[in-house]
Symmetry: C2
Subunit: 209 residues, 2 copies
DNA sequence: TAGACTTTCGAACGTTCGTTTGAAATAGTC
DNA sequence: GACTATTTCAAACGAACGTTCGAAAGTCTA
Protein backbone atom coordinates (compact mmCIF):
# COMPACT_ATOMS: atom_id res chain seq x y z
CA UNK A 1 0.00 0.00 0.00
CA UNK A 2 1.11 3.53 -0.74
CA UNK A 3 2.07 5.76 2.13
CA UNK A 4 -1.09 6.35 4.10
CA UNK A 5 -0.87 10.12 4.03
CA UNK A 6 -1.78 10.29 0.35
CA UNK A 7 -4.72 7.96 0.81
CA UNK A 8 -6.01 9.79 3.83
CA UNK A 9 -5.86 13.06 1.93
CA UNK A 10 -7.61 11.57 -1.08
CA UNK A 11 -10.36 10.06 1.06
CA UNK A 12 -10.96 13.23 3.02
CA UNK A 13 -10.88 15.39 -0.10
CA UNK A 14 -13.31 13.11 -1.91
CA UNK A 15 -15.76 13.29 0.95
CA UNK A 16 -15.53 17.03 1.47
CA UNK A 17 -15.55 17.84 -2.26
CA UNK A 18 -18.71 15.78 -2.62
CA UNK A 19 -20.34 17.37 0.40
CA UNK A 20 -19.48 21.03 -0.09
CA UNK A 21 -18.02 21.31 -3.57
CA UNK A 22 -14.43 21.84 -4.59
CA UNK A 23 -14.41 25.60 -4.28
CA UNK A 24 -16.03 25.64 -0.86
CA UNK A 25 -13.58 23.09 0.53
CA UNK A 26 -10.34 24.53 1.87
CA UNK A 27 -7.13 22.60 2.05
CA UNK A 28 -7.15 23.26 5.76
CA UNK A 29 -10.46 21.43 6.05
CA UNK A 30 -9.06 18.54 4.01
CA UNK A 31 -5.87 18.17 5.99
CA UNK A 32 -7.47 18.53 9.39
CA UNK A 33 -10.10 15.94 8.44
CA UNK A 34 -7.38 13.64 7.17
CA UNK A 35 -5.29 14.25 10.28
CA UNK A 36 -2.25 15.36 8.34
CA UNK A 37 -0.31 18.57 8.01
CA UNK A 38 -1.52 21.40 5.78
CA UNK A 39 1.61 21.42 3.66
CA UNK A 40 1.26 17.72 2.88
CA UNK A 41 -1.17 18.48 0.06
CA UNK A 42 1.27 20.66 -1.81
CA UNK A 43 4.06 18.20 -1.11
CA UNK A 44 2.24 15.13 -2.42
CA UNK A 45 0.00 16.63 -5.10
CA UNK A 46 1.75 19.88 -6.02
CA UNK A 47 -1.35 22.04 -5.72
CA UNK A 48 -5.06 21.96 -4.99
CA UNK A 49 -5.71 21.37 -8.68
CA UNK A 50 -3.37 18.41 -8.55
CA UNK A 51 -5.36 17.02 -5.65
CA UNK A 52 -8.61 17.42 -7.57
CA UNK A 53 -7.14 15.61 -10.54
CA UNK A 54 -5.86 12.80 -8.31
CA UNK A 55 -9.26 12.39 -6.65
CA UNK A 56 -10.90 11.98 -10.04
CA UNK A 57 -8.22 9.85 -11.63
CA UNK A 58 -8.33 7.29 -8.85
CA UNK A 59 -11.93 6.37 -9.62
CA UNK A 60 -12.57 7.57 -13.15
CA UNK A 61 -10.00 5.42 -14.88
CA UNK A 62 -11.23 2.11 -13.42
CA UNK A 63 -14.82 3.21 -14.00
CA UNK A 64 -14.20 3.89 -17.68
CA UNK A 65 -12.37 0.60 -18.05
CA UNK A 66 -15.27 -1.29 -16.47
CA UNK A 67 -17.81 0.38 -18.69
CA UNK A 68 -15.88 -0.37 -21.85
CA UNK A 69 -15.21 -3.94 -20.68
CA UNK A 70 -18.92 -4.49 -20.01
CA UNK A 71 -19.70 -3.29 -23.51
CA UNK A 72 -17.05 -5.53 -25.02
CA UNK A 73 -18.48 -8.49 -23.11
CA UNK A 74 -21.90 -7.70 -24.55
CA UNK A 75 -20.56 -7.43 -28.07
CA UNK A 76 -18.82 -10.75 -27.57
CA UNK A 77 -22.18 -12.47 -27.19
CA UNK A 78 -24.12 -10.69 -29.89
CA UNK A 79 -23.71 -8.11 -32.63
CA UNK A 80 -26.94 -6.40 -31.60
CA UNK A 81 -27.17 -5.88 -27.83
CA UNK A 82 -30.49 -5.01 -26.24
CA UNK A 83 -31.02 -1.44 -25.06
CA UNK A 84 -31.47 -2.49 -21.45
CA UNK A 85 -28.19 -4.37 -21.52
CA UNK A 86 -26.41 -1.34 -22.96
CA UNK A 87 -27.85 0.84 -20.23
CA UNK A 88 -26.84 -1.66 -17.61
CA UNK A 89 -23.29 -1.67 -18.95
CA UNK A 90 -23.34 2.10 -18.61
CA UNK A 91 -24.99 2.45 -15.21
CA UNK A 92 -23.97 -0.54 -13.16
CA UNK A 93 -20.22 0.12 -13.03
CA UNK A 94 -21.02 3.63 -11.81
CA UNK A 95 -23.62 2.64 -9.28
CA UNK A 96 -21.61 -0.35 -8.14
CA UNK A 97 -19.07 2.09 -6.85
CA UNK A 98 -21.65 2.93 -4.21
CA UNK A 99 -20.82 -0.38 -2.56
CA UNK A 100 -17.16 0.53 -2.19
CA UNK A 101 -15.92 2.59 0.75
CA UNK A 102 -16.20 6.23 -0.21
CA UNK A 103 -17.86 5.29 -3.47
CA UNK A 104 -21.03 7.19 -2.73
CA UNK A 105 -18.99 10.29 -2.06
CA UNK A 106 -17.34 10.05 -5.45
CA UNK A 107 -20.67 9.50 -7.16
CA UNK A 108 -21.99 12.67 -5.61
CA UNK A 109 -18.86 14.43 -6.79
CA UNK A 110 -19.37 13.04 -10.26
CA UNK A 111 -22.94 14.28 -10.22
CA UNK A 112 -21.67 17.71 -9.27
CA UNK A 113 -19.33 17.71 -12.21
CA UNK A 114 -22.16 16.99 -14.61
CA UNK A 115 -23.97 20.22 -13.81
CA UNK A 116 -20.94 22.32 -12.99
CA UNK A 117 -18.42 21.44 -15.68
CA UNK A 118 -16.71 24.81 -15.54
CA UNK A 119 -15.61 24.32 -11.97
CA UNK A 120 -13.68 21.28 -13.14
CA UNK A 121 -11.86 22.83 -16.05
CA UNK A 122 -8.68 21.77 -14.34
CA UNK A 123 -9.42 18.11 -15.08
CA UNK A 124 -8.03 18.42 -18.57
CA UNK A 125 -7.23 15.15 -20.26
CA UNK A 126 -9.20 13.16 -17.70
CA UNK A 127 -12.33 14.30 -19.46
CA UNK A 128 -11.26 12.38 -22.54
CA UNK A 129 -12.33 9.27 -20.66
CA UNK A 130 -15.93 10.39 -21.11
CA UNK A 131 -15.22 10.87 -24.78
CA UNK A 132 -14.14 7.25 -25.11
CA UNK A 133 -17.30 6.05 -23.42
CA UNK A 134 -19.41 8.25 -25.65
CA UNK A 135 -17.66 7.14 -28.82
CA UNK A 136 -18.25 3.47 -28.03
CA UNK A 137 -21.77 3.59 -26.59
CA UNK A 138 -23.58 6.19 -28.69
CA UNK A 139 -23.44 4.24 -31.99
CA UNK A 140 -24.74 1.13 -30.24
CA UNK A 141 -27.56 3.09 -28.63
CA UNK A 142 -28.39 4.67 -31.97
CA UNK A 143 -28.63 1.23 -33.55
CA UNK A 144 -31.13 0.18 -30.88
CA UNK A 145 -33.24 3.28 -31.55
CA UNK A 146 -33.21 3.65 -35.35
CA UNK A 147 -36.42 5.68 -35.50
CA UNK A 148 -34.84 8.51 -33.50
CA UNK A 149 -33.23 11.44 -35.30
CA UNK A 150 -29.71 12.14 -34.19
CA UNK A 151 -30.74 15.37 -32.47
CA UNK A 152 -33.54 13.70 -30.58
CA UNK A 153 -31.28 10.88 -29.47
CA UNK A 154 -28.77 13.40 -28.15
CA UNK A 155 -31.43 15.28 -26.25
CA UNK A 156 -32.64 12.07 -24.66
CA UNK A 157 -29.15 11.01 -23.75
CA UNK A 158 -28.72 14.43 -22.20
CA UNK A 159 -31.82 13.81 -20.09
CA UNK A 160 -30.47 10.37 -19.29
CA UNK A 161 -27.27 11.84 -17.93
CA UNK A 162 -29.30 14.24 -15.82
CA UNK A 163 -31.40 11.44 -14.39
CA UNK A 164 -28.27 9.44 -13.60
CA UNK A 165 -26.59 12.44 -12.01
CA UNK A 166 -29.62 13.01 -9.83
CA UNK A 167 -29.63 9.35 -8.88
CA UNK A 168 -26.06 9.79 -7.73
CA UNK A 169 -26.34 13.06 -5.88
CA UNK A 170 -28.23 14.22 -2.91
CA UNK A 171 -30.57 11.47 -1.90
CA UNK A 172 -31.56 14.01 0.71
CA UNK A 173 -33.76 15.61 -1.92
CA UNK A 174 -35.32 12.25 -2.70
CA UNK A 175 -36.02 11.63 0.96
CA UNK A 176 -37.61 15.05 1.22
CA UNK A 177 -39.77 14.36 -1.81
CA UNK A 178 -40.89 10.96 -0.52
CA UNK A 179 -41.26 12.03 3.11
CA UNK A 180 -38.49 9.61 3.99
CA UNK A 181 -39.91 6.43 2.48
CA UNK A 182 -37.42 6.21 -0.39
CA UNK A 183 -33.69 6.68 -0.65
CA UNK A 184 -32.18 3.65 1.08
CA UNK A 185 -32.03 1.32 -1.91
CA UNK A 186 -28.92 -0.58 -2.97
CA UNK A 187 -26.91 0.28 -6.04
CA UNK A 188 -28.47 -2.51 -8.06
CA UNK A 189 -31.95 -1.44 -7.06
CA UNK A 190 -31.20 2.09 -8.17
CA UNK A 191 -29.79 0.80 -11.45
CA UNK A 192 -33.02 -1.12 -12.05
CA UNK A 193 -35.12 1.95 -11.28
CA UNK A 194 -32.96 3.95 -13.66
CA UNK A 195 -33.05 1.40 -16.45
CA UNK A 196 -36.84 1.16 -16.30
CA UNK A 197 -37.25 4.93 -16.37
CA UNK A 198 -34.58 5.83 -18.87
CA UNK A 199 -35.23 2.83 -21.08
CA UNK A 200 -38.85 3.82 -21.50
CA UNK A 201 -37.90 7.44 -22.07
CA UNK A 202 -35.42 6.54 -24.78
CA UNK A 203 -37.92 4.22 -26.47
CA UNK A 204 -40.71 6.80 -26.52
CA UNK A 205 -42.21 7.61 -29.93
CA UNK A 206 -40.30 10.32 -31.71
CA UNK A 207 -43.27 12.69 -31.96
CA UNK A 208 -46.31 13.29 -29.84
CA UNK A 209 -49.36 11.51 -31.22
CA UNK B 1 -38.75 51.44 -12.61
CA UNK B 2 -36.63 50.90 -9.55
CA UNK B 3 -33.29 52.60 -9.33
CA UNK B 4 -31.17 51.04 -12.03
CA UNK B 5 -28.30 50.16 -9.71
CA UNK B 6 -30.26 47.36 -8.07
CA UNK B 7 -31.33 45.95 -11.42
CA UNK B 8 -27.86 46.10 -12.85
CA UNK B 9 -26.51 44.27 -9.82
CA UNK B 10 -29.23 41.63 -10.01
CA UNK B 11 -28.65 41.06 -13.72
CA UNK B 12 -24.89 40.82 -13.39
CA UNK B 13 -25.14 38.56 -10.34
CA UNK B 14 -27.62 36.26 -12.06
CA UNK B 15 -25.34 35.87 -15.03
CA UNK B 16 -22.15 35.32 -13.07
CA UNK B 17 -23.79 33.03 -10.51
CA UNK B 18 -25.09 30.88 -13.36
CA UNK B 19 -21.76 30.86 -15.14
CA UNK B 20 -19.35 30.28 -12.26
CA UNK B 21 -21.49 29.41 -9.25
CA UNK B 22 -22.28 31.53 -6.24
CA UNK B 23 -19.18 30.69 -4.26
CA UNK B 24 -16.81 31.30 -7.14
CA UNK B 25 -18.34 34.70 -7.93
CA UNK B 26 -16.94 37.59 -5.91
CA UNK B 27 -18.85 40.76 -5.20
CA UNK B 28 -16.05 42.59 -6.93
CA UNK B 29 -16.76 40.65 -10.11
CA UNK B 30 -20.46 41.40 -9.78
CA UNK B 31 -20.06 45.11 -9.22
CA UNK B 32 -17.43 45.61 -11.89
CA UNK B 33 -19.61 43.74 -14.39
CA UNK B 34 -22.61 45.81 -13.37
CA UNK B 35 -20.56 49.01 -13.54
CA UNK B 36 -21.38 50.05 -10.00
CA UNK B 37 -19.41 50.53 -6.81
CA UNK B 38 -18.39 47.55 -4.68
CA UNK B 39 -20.16 48.84 -1.59
CA UNK B 40 -23.45 49.14 -3.47
CA UNK B 41 -24.21 45.47 -2.89
CA UNK B 42 -24.06 45.76 0.86
CA UNK B 43 -25.97 49.03 0.72
CA UNK B 44 -28.85 47.71 -1.37
CA UNK B 45 -28.96 44.05 -0.32
CA UNK B 46 -27.29 44.03 3.09
CA UNK B 47 -24.93 41.18 2.32
CA UNK B 48 -23.94 38.68 -0.35
CA UNK B 49 -26.53 36.27 1.01
CA UNK B 50 -29.14 38.97 0.65
CA UNK B 51 -28.13 39.40 -2.97
CA UNK B 52 -28.44 35.66 -3.59
CA UNK B 53 -31.90 35.66 -2.07
CA UNK B 54 -32.93 38.65 -4.16
CA UNK B 55 -31.70 37.01 -7.36
CA UNK B 56 -33.79 33.94 -6.65
CA UNK B 57 -36.85 35.74 -5.34
CA UNK B 58 -37.15 37.88 -8.44
CA UNK B 59 -37.75 34.85 -10.66
CA UNK B 60 -38.83 32.06 -8.35
CA UNK B 61 -41.96 33.70 -7.01
CA UNK B 62 -43.48 34.41 -10.44
CA UNK B 63 -42.39 30.95 -11.62
CA UNK B 64 -44.16 29.21 -8.76
CA UNK B 65 -47.24 31.33 -9.28
CA UNK B 66 -47.31 30.42 -12.97
CA UNK B 67 -46.94 26.72 -12.26
CA UNK B 68 -49.73 26.70 -9.71
CA UNK B 69 -51.93 28.82 -11.98
CA UNK B 70 -51.35 26.41 -14.88
CA UNK B 71 -52.39 23.52 -12.64
CA UNK B 72 -55.49 25.38 -11.47
CA UNK B 73 -56.42 26.09 -15.06
CA UNK B 74 -56.12 22.39 -15.82
CA UNK B 75 -58.24 21.41 -12.85
CA UNK B 76 -60.82 23.93 -13.94
CA UNK B 77 -61.40 21.97 -17.12
CA UNK B 78 -61.35 18.45 -15.72
CA UNK B 79 -61.03 16.60 -12.45
CA UNK B 80 -58.55 14.15 -13.98
CA UNK B 81 -55.86 15.91 -16.01
CA UNK B 82 -53.68 13.95 -18.40
CA UNK B 83 -50.10 13.24 -17.41
CA UNK B 84 -48.69 15.16 -20.36
CA UNK B 85 -50.71 18.21 -19.41
CA UNK B 86 -49.48 18.03 -15.84
CA UNK B 87 -45.92 17.81 -17.04
CA UNK B 88 -46.47 20.72 -19.37
CA UNK B 89 -47.83 22.80 -16.48
CA UNK B 90 -44.65 21.95 -14.60
CA UNK B 91 -42.09 22.42 -17.36
CA UNK B 92 -43.36 25.17 -19.61
CA UNK B 93 -43.35 28.03 -17.10
CA UNK B 94 -39.75 27.16 -16.30
CA UNK B 95 -38.58 26.77 -19.86
CA UNK B 96 -40.56 29.78 -21.02
CA UNK B 97 -38.27 31.87 -18.89
CA UNK B 98 -35.62 31.08 -21.46
CA UNK B 99 -37.35 33.53 -23.78
CA UNK B 100 -37.00 36.40 -21.33
CA UNK B 101 -33.80 38.45 -21.09
CA UNK B 102 -31.49 36.74 -18.66
CA UNK B 103 -33.92 33.87 -18.30
CA UNK B 104 -31.48 31.27 -19.54
CA UNK B 105 -28.99 32.42 -16.95
CA UNK B 106 -31.48 31.91 -14.19
CA UNK B 107 -32.41 28.49 -15.50
CA UNK B 108 -28.80 27.47 -15.36
CA UNK B 109 -28.64 28.81 -11.83
CA UNK B 110 -31.75 26.84 -10.95
CA UNK B 111 -30.17 23.71 -12.39
CA UNK B 112 -27.12 24.33 -10.25
CA UNK B 113 -29.27 24.53 -7.18
CA UNK B 114 -30.81 21.17 -7.91
CA UNK B 115 -27.51 19.35 -7.64
CA UNK B 116 -25.86 21.62 -5.12
CA UNK B 117 -28.56 22.35 -2.57
CA UNK B 118 -26.11 22.87 0.28
CA UNK B 119 -24.54 25.86 -1.39
CA UNK B 120 -27.93 27.54 -1.28
CA UNK B 121 -28.76 26.94 2.37
CA UNK B 122 -29.07 30.67 2.66
CA UNK B 123 -32.25 30.68 0.58
CA UNK B 124 -34.34 29.70 3.58
CA UNK B 125 -38.03 30.33 3.18
CA UNK B 126 -37.71 30.71 -0.58
CA UNK B 127 -37.37 26.94 -0.78
CA UNK B 128 -40.89 26.59 0.56
CA UNK B 129 -42.01 27.61 -2.91
CA UNK B 130 -40.83 24.22 -4.14
CA UNK B 131 -42.76 22.61 -1.32
CA UNK B 132 -45.96 24.24 -2.52
CA UNK B 133 -45.38 22.98 -6.05
CA UNK B 134 -44.67 19.50 -4.79
CA UNK B 135 -47.72 19.43 -2.54
CA UNK B 136 -50.03 20.39 -5.40
CA UNK B 137 -48.51 18.36 -8.23
CA UNK B 138 -47.46 15.06 -6.65
CA UNK B 139 -50.97 13.88 -5.73
CA UNK B 140 -52.15 14.65 -9.25
CA UNK B 141 -49.22 12.80 -10.77
CA UNK B 142 -49.83 9.85 -8.45
CA UNK B 143 -53.45 9.73 -9.59
CA UNK B 144 -52.29 9.50 -13.20
CA UNK B 145 -49.96 6.63 -12.33
CA UNK B 146 -51.95 4.44 -9.92
CA UNK B 147 -49.93 1.30 -10.62
CA UNK B 148 -46.77 2.90 -9.25
CA UNK B 149 -45.79 2.38 -5.62
CA UNK B 150 -45.10 5.60 -3.76
CA UNK B 151 -41.38 4.87 -3.58
CA UNK B 152 -41.11 4.15 -7.27
CA UNK B 153 -43.03 7.29 -8.13
CA UNK B 154 -40.64 9.33 -6.00
CA UNK B 155 -37.61 7.78 -7.64
CA UNK B 156 -39.00 8.57 -11.06
CA UNK B 157 -39.83 12.12 -10.09
CA UNK B 158 -36.28 12.40 -8.84
CA UNK B 159 -35.03 11.28 -12.23
CA UNK B 160 -37.46 13.72 -13.80
CA UNK B 161 -36.00 16.60 -11.86
CA UNK B 162 -32.54 15.55 -12.96
CA UNK B 163 -33.55 15.43 -16.60
CA UNK B 164 -35.13 18.87 -16.30
CA UNK B 165 -32.10 20.30 -14.54
CA UNK B 166 -29.86 18.96 -17.28
CA UNK B 167 -32.17 20.45 -19.88
CA UNK B 168 -31.69 23.79 -18.19
CA UNK B 169 -27.97 23.74 -17.58
CA UNK B 170 -25.00 23.62 -19.81
CA UNK B 171 -26.20 23.07 -23.30
CA UNK B 172 -22.51 23.05 -24.01
CA UNK B 173 -22.46 19.42 -22.92
CA UNK B 174 -25.33 18.65 -25.26
CA UNK B 175 -23.54 20.31 -28.13
CA UNK B 176 -20.45 18.31 -27.34
CA UNK B 177 -22.45 15.10 -27.26
CA UNK B 178 -24.20 15.82 -30.54
CA UNK B 179 -21.15 17.27 -32.29
CA UNK B 180 -22.97 20.59 -32.50
CA UNK B 181 -26.14 19.47 -34.23
CA UNK B 182 -28.41 19.88 -31.19
CA UNK B 183 -28.78 22.55 -28.55
CA UNK B 184 -30.32 25.49 -30.35
CA UNK B 185 -33.97 24.57 -29.82
CA UNK B 186 -36.60 26.94 -28.44
CA UNK B 187 -38.05 26.59 -24.97
CA UNK B 188 -41.20 24.97 -26.30
CA UNK B 189 -39.22 22.48 -28.34
CA UNK B 190 -37.22 21.52 -25.28
CA UNK B 191 -40.41 21.17 -23.27
CA UNK B 192 -41.77 18.81 -25.92
CA UNK B 193 -38.57 16.76 -25.90
CA UNK B 194 -38.76 16.60 -22.12
CA UNK B 195 -42.43 15.66 -21.98
CA UNK B 196 -41.92 12.83 -24.45
CA UNK B 197 -38.94 11.43 -22.57
CA UNK B 198 -40.14 11.92 -19.03
CA UNK B 199 -43.73 10.99 -19.80
CA UNK B 200 -42.63 7.64 -21.18
CA UNK B 201 -40.27 7.11 -18.26
CA UNK B 202 -42.98 7.79 -15.72
CA UNK B 203 -45.42 5.52 -17.52
CA UNK B 204 -43.00 2.60 -17.73
CA UNK B 205 -44.19 -0.70 -16.19
CA UNK B 206 -43.40 -0.89 -12.52
CA UNK B 207 -41.23 -4.01 -12.88
CA UNK B 208 -39.03 -5.35 -15.62
CA UNK B 209 -40.81 -8.00 -17.63
C1' DT C 1 -31.55 78.56 -2.01
C1' DA C 2 -31.52 75.72 2.38
C1' DG C 3 -31.96 71.61 4.48
C1' DA C 4 -33.07 66.58 4.97
C1' DC C 5 -32.61 62.31 2.94
C1' DT C 6 -30.74 58.83 -0.24
C1' DT C 7 -27.14 57.04 -2.83
C1' DT C 8 -22.30 56.64 -4.25
C1' DC C 9 -17.57 56.69 -3.35
C1' DG C 10 -12.71 55.84 -1.52
C1' DA C 11 -10.30 53.45 1.72
C1' DA C 12 -9.52 50.35 4.84
C1' DC C 13 -10.64 46.44 8.18
C1' DG C 14 -10.06 41.57 9.68
C1' DT C 15 -10.33 36.90 7.88
C1' DT C 16 -9.39 33.09 5.07
C1' DC C 17 -7.36 31.25 1.20
C1' DG C 18 -3.44 28.52 -1.55
C1' DT C 19 1.23 28.36 -1.46
C1' DT C 20 6.15 28.55 -0.05
C1' DT C 21 10.29 27.94 2.78
C1' DG C 22 13.65 25.95 5.71
C1' DA C 23 14.29 23.27 9.56
C1' DA C 24 13.09 18.95 12.17
C1' DA C 25 11.95 14.21 12.00
C1' DT C 26 11.76 9.77 9.86
C1' DA C 27 13.04 5.76 6.84
C1' DG C 28 16.23 3.25 4.16
C1' DT C 29 21.09 1.83 2.73
C1' DC C 30 25.83 0.79 3.33
C1' DG D 1 25.97 4.30 13.62
C1' DA D 2 26.76 7.68 9.74
C1' DC D 3 24.94 9.24 5.33
C1' DT D 4 21.26 10.12 2.16
C1' DA D 5 16.64 10.72 0.63
C1' DT D 6 11.98 11.20 1.84
C1' DT D 7 8.44 13.01 4.55
C1' DT D 8 6.48 16.05 8.17
C1' DC D 9 6.34 20.16 10.66
C1' DA D 10 5.88 25.29 12.21
C1' DA D 11 5.52 29.65 10.44
C1' DA D 12 4.74 32.92 7.42
C1' DC D 13 3.77 35.03 2.70
C1' DG D 14 0.86 37.74 -0.61
C1' DA D 15 -3.59 37.79 -2.56
C1' DA D 16 -8.49 37.88 -2.55
C1' DC D 17 -12.55 37.81 0.00
C1' DG D 18 -16.99 40.04 2.44
C1' DT D 19 -17.82 43.82 5.06
C1' DT D 20 -17.69 48.44 7.28
C1' DC D 21 -17.41 53.53 7.83
C1' DG D 22 -17.30 58.42 7.11
C1' DA D 23 -17.08 61.68 3.70
C1' DA D 24 -18.66 63.27 -0.89
C1' DA D 25 -22.21 63.63 -4.28
C1' DG D 26 -26.72 63.60 -5.76
C1' DT D 27 -31.93 64.12 -5.27
C1' DC D 28 -36.03 65.93 -3.65
C1' DT D 29 -39.21 69.07 -0.94
C1' DA D 30 -40.20 73.66 1.21
Amino acid sequence: MEPSTKHQILDAAERLFAEFGVDATSLRAVTSTAGVHLAAVNYHFGSKDGLVRAVFARRLEPLTAERLAALEALLGHTDAPELDDLLRALFEPALRMADQPGGTDFLRLLGRMHTDPEAFGTLGSLLELFGEVRARFVPQLARCLPELAHDELCWRLHFTMGAMANAMTSRAVLRWMSDGSAGDESATDVANHLIRFVGAGLRAPARLA
